[in-house]
């Protein structure tokens, strides 16, 4: 009897330990990107999850005035994976949908869905994860938006933490 009690305790203790371990690894942080709002499948992505997508890259001039090669995934592919109304479905009221992209420092920028959709534009907006072959540094990564046709890089938002799809109300 007392034996089972003991093992119950030890199970509880080891569970607690596991929980602590899980928690501290969370604190160690592998930052995630969440896609939510008007989606059929909300997503929580880590950089590693993006490896299964087709890789795209852009050579563009950044704020520092120098050219860099950013690589990652076309933003539209992520939206399609989340079941956002793109392509043929991007019509009618869906044209009043937008993306609110937020960074971990609280910075926010907005894109309309049509700005991102290949039926509307040839520009491929990138969710970048590397710069000149290196993972994006702290303060810039792990995810950054690159919009080559924007003359001013103010919407090339760094440290992207969430993308929310919503209707303009």
């Amino acid at each position: 009897m007392s034996k089972t009690k003991f093992s119950k305790q030890s199970i509880a203790a080891s569970l607690l330990l596991l929980l602590c371990a899980a928690f501290s690894s969370f604190a160690q942080n592998t930052a995630t990107l969440s896609i939510s709002g008007e989606v059929t499948t909300p997503l929580e992505l880590k950089s590693a999850d993006l490896a299964s997508f087709k890789q795209v890259s852009h050579k563009v001039k950044d704020r520092d005035g120098k050219e860099h090669e950013f690589s990652g995934v076309a933003l539209i592919e992520i939206l399609e994976k989340a079941g956002v109304t793109t392509g043929a479905k991007l019509r009618g009221e869906n044209l009043a949908k937008y993306l609110l992209i937020s960074a971990s420092d609280g910075y926010e920028v907005l894109y309309s869905l049509a700005e991102i959709d290949p039926d509307f534009t040839d520009q491929v907006i990138l969710l970048a994860t590397t710069k000149d072959g290196q993972p994006l540094a702290n303060g810039e990564g792990p995810f950054r938006i690159i919009t080559p046709n924007d003359k001013k890089p103010a919407r090339w938002i760094r440290e992207v933490r969430s993308i929310k799809v919503a209707f303009a109300k």
Partner: protein, 374 residues
């Protein structure tokens, strides 16, 4: 169904209870619709260039009665465990609702963990406190009211104490439909008052409206504040506006502004659990900054000159130091801002333009209780 009716009819006391509850419910509904006519809606006044990106919770519309009640509560010491402090103790109007101390003293004499914050233009704040851990004023107010280092009293006890006064029950009845004061109503009234604390009457606001001519020094300071340094093009700057800019001198951002290489207070990380948020704090408003010393989340700087020296030459490196404070300099290839003594004086002159004495003397924000022992 038959059985149910039978129990309702035979179980008299239960039936009585149900009908009583119904009666209260219905009459309150009546009073509620009556209140719409009775409690006067209040229209917030603010300059158009502040924008209207704020949300007033649906369940807490601002009324004149609610604001007045909130103002009484803001100055009410009965809300503290030892009846010795109110919100005002740490948020004094003449100091733009700060207290001039690095850390504030709570009801039991212990110190707060962080520096008291100015309460100006809270209407536009979306994540409250230095670490942004609270999503709204109604939620925020619970912390100072119950925190043992602040007012240290359970909300239920606060409601009980107010219910036992002669002053408050009729005022709550007028502002909210109820004869019993609830915890929620205390939070709502305080929030209504706080939403009216709008600072928009500084010389800077007058300048933006075309009604004030800055001195040459203030003007140079403003230019420096807003510009990023670009030594190649001969542009000198302090880049403050990147984080503190805009007409409200407030952008809701969280940054590590290089106070320490190893932080003792991990700031936003404590709330988000993300190590990339270590020692990030909310960029505070610079409104009335000349009145709100000492500065930073721990009140480590007692003068604006010390703050400017920090940004100019003492930024501490760490893995989460803001990218906007790295490799920016007025010297080609320089490692720090390298502002001159005169430029720092110019910046100080500009910051002085943010003092709003209409705000710090507005009678609508002052203590409404009769002061018995002046």
């Amino acid at each position: 169904m038959k059985n149910f009716l039978k129990t309702v009819l035979t179980n008299r006391p239960g039936w009585l209870k149900v009908s009583l509850v119904c009666a209260v419910f219905i009459s309150c509904g009546l009073i509620q619709s009556f209140r719409a006519k009775n409690a006067e809606p209040y229209v917030l006044q603010y300059p158009a260039n502040f924008g209207s990106r704020f949300v007033i919770p649906e369940g807490n519309p601002i009324t004149k009665e609610g604001i007045y009640l909130g103002r009484l509560l803001f100055y009410e010491k009965a809300l503290s465990a030892n009846n010795n402090i109110s919100c005002e103790s740490c948020h004094q109007q003449k100091l733009a609702f700060t207290d001039g101390k690095a850390f504030s003293t709570g009801t039991d004499g212990s110190l707060t963990a962080r520096n008291s914050m100015s309460l100006a233009n809270l209407l536009w704040v979306r994540n409250f406190f230095w670490d942004g851990r609270s999503p709204g004023l109604e939620d925020q107010a619970k912390f100072p009211l119950t925190d043992p280092h602040e007012m240290g009293q359970p909300l239920s006890e606060s409601a009980r104490k107010l219910n036992n006064t002669t002053l408050y029950p009729p005022l709550f009845a007028k502002a909210f439909c109820s004869s019993v004061i609830t915890e929620d109503q205390i939070l709502k009234a305080l929030s209504q008052f706080e939403r009216t604390l709008i600072s928009a009457g500084s010389n800077y606001d007058r300048y933006l409206a075309g009604n004030y001519q800055p001195t040459a020094q203030q003007f140079r300071g403003m230019q420096l504040f807003e510009s990023g340094p670009d030594p190649k093009s001969g542009i000198r700057g302090a880049n403050c506006g990147h984080c503190h800019g805009g007409v409200k001198t407030f952008k809701e951002l969280f940054h590590n502004n290089g106070l320490d290489s190893v932080a003792t207070d991990i700031g936003r990380e404590q709330f988000t659990g993300q190590s990339t948020d270590r020692a990030r704090f909310r960029v505070p408003t610079l409104r009335n900054i000349m009145l709100t010393a000492p500065y930073m989340h721990d009140g480590r700087f007692s003068t604006i000159e010390q703050v400017l020296d920090h940004y100019n030459a003492h930024i501490q490196q760490s893995p989460t130091l803001s990218a906007f404070l790295q490799d920016i300099s007025n010297d080609p290839g320089g490692k720090n801002l390298a502002l001159t003594k005169d430029e720092k004086a110019d910046l100080t002159a500009f910051l002085g333009m943010l003092t709003d004495s209409l705000f710090t003397t507005n009678p609508a924000f002052s203590n409404p209780h009769p002061v018995l022992n002046p």
